[in-house]
């Protein structure tokens, strides 16, 4: 393992600060939270998505209408939705919370998330799994270390879902190597989150990528 692919907590906090700066500019909702004992902090964002399900006539089928997904996803809605009697379509709002923490054991960022209905009922691992796009499921099913598991949030002590961090360096190393080759600064957090986020329904507007190169130009 190469030492320069790892970064320390201070570097993590720096990249998060830069990321949040841009988030504030575009109203993307990310915030920095400090732990109660002030010894560390993490990034977090809450957003709401609408899940609509068809009842009775098509048991077991449900389509996610996610406001932040590209249009290809929207086309997956079964046309039957328009033929269903008025009372049968139920819409539910799901609250998603995403937290980005630093793992000192693996020296990488880790994505924690949880989801619940507005009445507080949490989504189960099964529900969450159903929301993962097909193209990611194959990769996740390949190994226990790549999968989504339920773990205790290290600051809040509550159950969250986590994408296991031990493979992070494997996919981040080529990204960082390439950015050095073309001599361009990369915000590790932006790159990393754009890779892992979509797996669990979190998409980053493209302007984050431009934000990094802007900073670089301004610094000179």
């Amino acid at each position: 393992m190469e030492e320069d692919e790892f970064f320390g907590e201070k570097t993590f906090q720096h990249y998060c600060a830069e990321f949040i700066k841009h988030s504030q500019q575009i109203g993307d909702g990310w915030e920095w939270k400090i732990s109660k004992d002030c010894s560390d902090g993490y990034m977090c964002k809450t957003h709401f998505q609408i899940k609509s399900g068809t009842v009775v006539s098509h048991p077991g089928t449900s389509a996610y209408v996610q406001t932040c997904l590209p249009t290809e996803e929207a086309l997956e809605l079964p046309l039957d939705d328009f033929e269903v009697p008025e009372t049968a379509v139920a819409s539910e709002v799901i609250k998603y919370e995403y937290h980005v923490l630093y793992s000192c054991s693996y020296q990488v960022p880790v994505l924690y998330f949880r989801a619940s209905f507005l009445d507080g009922r949490p989504l189960t691992l099964k529900d969450v799994w159903e929301g993962v796009h097909e193209c990611y499921k194959t990769r996740l099913l390949q190994g226990p270390w790549d999968t989504i598991t339920q773990q205790e949030h290290p600051v809040l002590g509550q159950p969250f879902f986590v994408l296991h961090p031990c493979k992070t360096n494997e996919f981040m190393t080529p990204v960082l190597k390439n950015s050095r080759k073309i001599n361009r600064n990369v915000n590790y957090i932006t790159s990393w989150l754009s890779i892992v986020g979509p797996v669990v329904g979190l998409n980053l507007p493209l302007s984050y990528a431009n934000a990094t190169s802007q900073d670089e130009r301004n610094v000179d």
Binding site: M1, S35, K36, D37, C104, S105, Y106, R121, P122, T124, L125, P144, W145, T149, Q150, Q151, E152, P154, V155, L156, G157, Q158, P159, H164, C166
Partner: protein
């Protein structure tokens, strides 16, 4: 009880839901160390506390969690080199040895996780977690080296002074807390490397409880 009323089992002691993913000795030290054995806990079959406890759908979940802790401990000790070099059957042997209380079977593999290069004086970092019931944070875990720059071995006291100074009372003051591992209070002068090799839990972590000094 009717079958349909029964949902996931969970355990509780004096109003506190018990985290199944913590070692039972740790839970006892942290919550009930001053009480006499046997430890009386309450078993629930309803109203699973979703906000407090992880779900435990099967024995596989326990195995997955245990192996995840082992992996993390080795990431700290050896940059994951030792555990990643092992075959799947070695990982299985660790879990089966623990599950079936087979000391020799477990240690045949675990001893490799307790080795370090001849040129070093210990592990890269020490896997530890410090627990206190008085904080919202479930535990303190930070990077801490077993050996100082001058080659001196760091002690348990050094660790606490660095990451949890409130745990140690001033030398001339009254002792406010007990620093407990496996139900005993090791001397603060004990080298941390030695504690990590000999007093870790099966998951290779030192789980340290800071509890108020009993007043009797």
């Amino acid at each position: 009880m009717r079958q349909e009323d029964i949902s996931e089992i969970w355990f509780e002691y004096e109003g506190t839901p018990l985290k199944w993913h913590y070692p039972i000795g740790l839970l006892f030290d942290l919550l009930a160390s001053s009480s006499a054995l046997p430890w009386n806990i309450t078993v629930h079959f309803k109203s699973f506390p979703e906000k407090d406890l992880l779900h435990c759908p099967s024995k596989d979940a326990v195995e997955a969690h245990f192996m995840s802790c082992m992996k993390e401990a080795d990431a700290l000790k050896h940059k994951s080199q030792v555990i990643n070099e092992m075959q799947k059957k070695d990982h299985k042997q660790l879990w089966m040895g623990l599950q079936n209380d087979r000391f020799d079977q477990f240690w045949a593999i675990n001893r490799k996780l307790m080795e370090y290069p001849a040129e070093e004086n210990g592990f890269r970092y020490i896997p530890f977690r410090i627990y206190q019931t008085t904080t919202e944070r479930p535990f303190i875990q930070k990077l801490f080296r077993p050996v100082a720059a001058d080659g001196q071995l760091h002690t348990l006291g050094d660790l606490l002074r660095e990451v949890c100074p409130s745990a140690i009372s001033p030398e001339d003051g009254e002792k406010k807390n007990q620093v407990m591992i496996h139900g005993i209070e090791p001397m603060l002068e004990t080298p941390l490397q030695w504690l990590s090799e000999h007093l870790s839990y099966p998951d290779n972590f030192l789980h340290i409880s800071i509890i108020p000094q009993p007043t009797d």
